[in-house]
Symmetry: C2
């Protein structure tokens, strides 16, 4: 390992936060925007988002979800229609007061999320049970004001998708919320090689205005949890606030049952913090913007560049996301660059390889070298990428398993969480008890593991309501 290169990044073990910032900036995933709290998503970061979009959009459409686009600006009065919702979001909205050279008669807020405006439109469109379910999604930007910036993790503006459904019954709304949670956790597992803890949030931690919120939590390498996506069963709360009523099959007017669900560019942060190592990013092949990079060795020798180009063409034609770096940087510089960028496979081609009709493939996940016959390069590289994808998921699963500690002792819980663990224990389900834990230790509940009344609450000694994960979070 070349110290000179590695030292560009802070030490992942002793300063994880700085390592994260170093990695995302130095790999050209992101930069800070001019206004505090904002980020610029650069092409290498945006390509990750595009791969997430591509995967999810296909899964949505398979399930009959239709994309649409609702306005950015929401009349301030809309936000106030659902009382819990306005409490949750009012403190962090950005407000437009002037437009077209004039002061506006009603202030407009930049959407922090779109339940209020979408439900207002749904109320206009939904008349009868025949109009249900109504199932739309939008890919868009949202804004929740922040004074500090942690790119991808916490920024004023971020990109996301927000799905919104209205069903004719609470059961169907609940089913939507649960099914989308599954779609998200499959996306993280299959595309990003990230295993998650999934389940309901507590009453205290649920979304402002929801009946129940489900979340998927990924555990980062420092043991902190990252809420990677949420789905909400909103019951009739927003339907009542916006007057979404439909004629049911009996001819009676009934309020609809709505849901919403979203994932955001936070997922890019999760990808970095679940898989990265001391050398930089590690991208699972399924989501990697560059799946393989071809590095010529001794490319002044005749035939080397030509062979590289030939291999590039083959792989490119087979729809492998391949890059051929024929710049005049040294091979050593290129090795370091693409390791830091987390490219899953490096393909080295030099004069001796060409003589033997092979190339040398170097895995980013294990640093192992594999010789591949040039005649079978497409199929062997595809096989290798499958192996890497599986291995990275396995590693992440082991990390997740190692991060979880079970205890019934509160002091142990606090110590474990502060040591970078996620704790699985029992809780009474009482808001005040949960708040007391947070006040005392800053530790919050993550998601409910299972309902279980046979134990005692880890904090207040009342009888338990559920097993639940505790941890620190991004």
């Amino acid at each position: 390992m070349n110290k000179q290169f590695v030292n560009e990044l802070a030490d992942i073990k002793t300063d994880f936060a700085q390592w994260y910032t170093d990695v995302i900036l130095k790999t050209d995933m992101v930069d800070y925007g001019p206004v505090k709290g904002t980020m610029v998503i650069k092409p290498y970061g945006y390509a990750v988002w595009e791969n997430i979009q591509h995967y999810l959009d296909k899964e949505f459409k398979k399930r009959g979800v239709q994309n649409a686009y609702f306005p950015l600006l929401i009349p301030e009065s809309y936000l106030k229609k659902e009382s819990e919702h306005v409490e949750g979001f009012a403190p962090e909205v950005a407000v437009v007061t002037y437009a077209g050279g004039e002061e506006l008669s009603e202030k407009l807020i930049i959407r922090p999320t779109s339940e209020t405006i979408i439900c207002e439109m749904y109320a206009k469109w939904i008349k009868s049970y025949r109009d249900l379910p109504m199932v739309m999604n939008q890919w868009c930007n949202v804004m929740r004001w922040e004074k500090t910036t942690r790119p991808f993790l916490r920024t004023s503006e971020f990109l996301w998708q927000e799905g919104h459904t209205v069903q004719a019954s609470n059961e169907d709304a609940k089913k939507d919320a649960q099914e989308m949670l599954k779609v998200y956790s499959d996306c993280l597992r299959n595309l990003m090689a990230i295993p998650t803890l999934t389940g309901r949030k507590t009453e205290k931690e649920k979304f402002a205005g929801a009946v129940e919120t489900y979340s998927l939590e990924a555990v980062m390498k420092d043991g902190k949890c990252l809420q990677a996506g949420t789905t909400h069963n909103l019951g009739q709360n927003f339907a009542k606030a916006s007057n979404i009523r439909f004629l049911n099959k009996n001819g009676d007017l009934e309020y609809g049952y709505s849901t919403s669900w979203g994932v955001s560019t936070r997922l890019i942060g999760a990808l970095v913090m679940v898989h990265g190592d001391e050398r930089g990013l590690r991208m699972p092949p399924n989501i990697a913007p560059i799946q393989a990079v071809i590095v010529p060795i001794a490319n002044h020798k005749p035939g080397v560049n030509e062979k590289c180009q030939e291999v590039y063409n083959k792989l490119n034609k087979a729809e492998i996301r391949v890059k051929f770096d024929n710049s005049d940087n040294t091979p050593g510089w290129k090795f370091n660059e693409y390791e830091m960028k987390g490219v899953p496979v490096r393909l080295e081609i030099g004069p001796r390889d060409i003589e033997n009709n092979v190339l040398t493939a170097v895995r980013r996940d294990t640093h192992e070298k594999v010789q591949i016959n040039l005649d079978n390069v497409v199929s062997e590289l595809n096989d290798l990428m499958h192996i890497i994808q599986d291995n990275m998921l396995k590693q992440a699963e082991e990390n997740l398993k190692t991060a979880i500690v079970e205890t019934d002792d509160f002091d142990e819980l606090v110590k474990a969480v502060n040591d970078g663990k996620v704790v699985l224990s029992y809780h009474c389900g009482n808001n005040e008890c949960e708040e007391a834990i947070k006040q005392k230790t800053t530790i919050k509940t993550r998601v409910i593991h299972s309902y279980n009344e046979a134990h005692k609450c880890i904090y207040c000694d009342k009888s338990s309501k559920y097993r639940i994960y505790f941890g620190k979070q991004y």
Copy 2:
């Protein structure tokens, strides 16, 4: 033709504006948003936009364009850096003055376009000629305040893509602007079956801050032009304003040469107004959200629904965008519905068709009926869609040709434009002369046809600079 259904729409010949509004609302492409000037793009309209995105994104990537995402909010001071730019846009921006519960120290504007913020970032990223060209694009929302709303054509918020390049020379910047104009006109022609007039805009009509602006103009059925996309060679104007400098090959610091180019959801309006007829929309197959709809005839008869489903499965598997409407509406209702929605092919399947192992395909463009053998349904439908696509382009080309009138007489020009024509004539290229024409008649120049100094200006009698199109516009 069933009068009862057709009368739902205003008459396209006598009230084109109302016809447009009727069509886009009744086909569920769009709805009005709650704030004046805003629209909600509904799934049937958004699907058109997705098809445009899909086509263009692929063309961009073939040319090395990388997608990125820049912040929505731009510090007010940035807008002021390029003097013509601020003059052009300041009157129509929406301004955020409060955020996170506090008044902001600097006002932030919602991007009307992103040259200023993107160039600011480019200035940070570009150091040497090795960093050039820099070629990025973003798909995003922008805002230019409007008090009236014409969905897709004129709304405060709309969706678009904006590409921004920096090159090391003016020639390369000019080439970018011209190449992207070609990409756009190919997209309109190949995907949307819309022929366009392409060329430079005059000094007077160019983009605020550009050295030269190129435009593609589509001619609607009422003879008005619609600026369907623009590309700008910005020269060093924005590079100087944002201090984008690079070390050139001689080791000297030089300002970069930038371009920008964009198309927006306006294109959906063009699609409606180029192809629509008295019955509603007509979608060219390549862009149609639904390419073919299966309507069962006498579907209470045994086997009809099953056969329809079988055909649906076959077509769906062949990636034809097909819908099977097995709702309990009457066939007549369905015929009208999908004609209004402009679905290019209706596939009728009834008991007699099944006996003969055929279906009846009805073309939206000509109303012709064609029998298709069920064994070859995929290939025959694909062939038919090619024919329809070609025919719709041919019809649109004929309409365009008919709309253009050549004259050297100014009174004739005015009369022709007011009669719904586009006039090709000669102009001196003088700003004041062009302004005088506009003041007197509201008629503007569209794009330069060719440079030609051998004639006289149609208005002022000075010698001509170019042949140019005049017309009214959306």
